[in-house]
Subunit: 138 residues, 2 copies
DNA sequence: TCATACCCAAGTGTTTATGTCAAGATTTGT
DNA sequence: ACAAATCTTGACATAAACACTTGGGTATGA
């Protein structure tokens, strides 16, 4: 099982902005340097975050990005779901494509359902306020 | 996030054998037909399962595979871990390779640790006895 | 002895993830 | 006006993982 770098980068980028809540906009370049994320790649990711209403952008000189909500109102799930498409839902490709004719016999269903729900529950309960708190305590 | 077909195939194959607990050996071909898994691919997977002590093999004519323990003593985790290598541990590649110099700043750690542990907990608590029970109830 | 079935190593094709690059258009502070 | 920055979008490159195949070898029951 694997989490894409997209999700990781996204979390880190939003974290960077969350720490700057109510501050001046931060440019992509700055974020990419601080969090060590390839700039042009981050650019692509952050577009999605903007469209999802997680970050705001400000164009022009002195522009950049700010976080669009209070850190406590953004969960890890929000970011992951936005970037990862179908993060938790581990689906049976076979089922989707051909219509699984051995559903009764499928041991997997039960397992993946449980995995999905436990992962979702985990990430839904982590907000960026939590992460900031965690960070400050160190 | 994604689970490989390896894990899915493995679960299904072991499930097939678990249902046959204390029965005659089942040939790979039979398993692959019943669970619709490419035979030669399954062959590779099942080698790992054997080496992990999850299944037993019997060579020669009338040979095949049997499950090596009681279904209640094999968890989904056992099978997944065996086939997937590093299933739950979502690691920071960056950290492993270069020694992450922004550890303090890394929002991810906290999240992935939680995700890992919740996934592990979920799959560790599912045994093949559970799956069989689930199956029979349908 | 022979068909059956496991055992093993290596090779192959495809897809996906992870970026990179280019080439502009647009907005805004100074 | 100019520079700084986001926006758009589309193509390209690459490497790794995945899924599967091939071609043998070896053990065993009948």
């Amino acid at each position: 099982m694997r989490v894409s770098t997209r999700a990781r980068y996204g979390i880190n980028a939003v974290f960077e902005l969350a720490k700057n809540y109510q501050g001046e906009p931060i440019a992509i370049k700055t974020i990419s340097e601080r969090q060590k994320i390839p700039m042009q790649y981050l650019e692509q990711l952050i577009v999605k975050l903007r469209k999802a209403g997680i970050v705001n952008s400000l164009r022009g000189a002195k522009g950049g990005y700010t976080i669009a909500k209070k850190p406590k109102d953004i969960t890890a799930w929000d970011v992951i779901a936005c970037l990862e498409g179908a993060f938790a839902p581990i689906h049976c490709k076979r089922y989707e494509e051909e219509g699984c004719d051995h559903e009764d016999d499928c041991a997997g269903q039960h397992i993946w359902t449980k995995v999905n729900s436990s992962v979702m529950q985990a990430v839904e309960n982590i907000t960026f306020a939590d992460l900031i708190k965690e960070f400050k305590e160190k």
